[in-house]
Amino acid sequence: MSPISRGFHRKREEAPAGRVPPGQYVTRDFPVLSAGPTPHTPLSGWSFSITGGRETKSWTWDEFRALPTDTLTKDIHCVTRWSKLDTTWQGVSLDVLLGMVEYESRYALAFSDGGYTTNLPVADLLGGQAWVAFNYEGAPLGAEHGGPARLLVPHLYFWKSAKWVRGLRLRDTDEPGFWENYGYHIYGDPWREQRYAGD
């Protein structure tokens, strides 16, 4: 049994009841959790691609930024138990991006600069649930938080919101991505506390 360290507690903020999924605490911080080095892809070399549909569809940065955008405020929930409330973002909805592709696949693997991947059902990318976000709190998304653009899927644990996202591979089967391969849940619903495989 570990001794209690008198007076030590996790930094936490108050949250309205029912606002935060089970096992989470609220923070004002925005911790940087990275599995690898921060990429620094110049915008001139950036593209977002969707493969696995009838044809591959790709956007340059300028083409991407010409698409209609949403400004949204969402809570985000990290599997490491912190939640951050009312975060504001600006991004292009996956409804817009996937709307420009013909496909039949039910699953997607999001892939990022540096090799990170995460898997999601296509249904969780549609219906106003997912964006490719390029602004955070009104300013361009910083590199350490996934800039120039990251996937944003706030209804799932935040490891699904892949930083430095460069595209989606549409697939017929749900193949685990980076953290899913190492023991994290294949789906990751914070409200059902699906943190690890088997939860």
């Binding site: 990275s34 599995a35 690898g36 990290c78 490491t80 090799g115 350490e144 953290w179 190492y182």
Partner: protein, 88 residues
Amino acid sequence: MDDAAMDDFAVDGNAIAGLLASVFGAEMTTATGTCGSCGTITMVAELPVYLTEIGTVVRCRSCQSVLMVFVSVREVTCVDLMGLASLT
């Protein structure tokens, strides 16, 4: 020393000396790892380590391939060494 500087947020194998000792039962920072992708041989103490609560990722200094991953799942440490060709 490799030409590319290590990412500012990375630590090195020294930082996980305790984790490695508890997993392997021995002092590992002076052990050498061979990258399974590019063959680069590096002392564990000098490998870039991305240490976060979601998991700890040890990468090749040269090609950034993942060499080792440590994840704590329900208080059990799961270890994946698949990226290493050898660790001696």
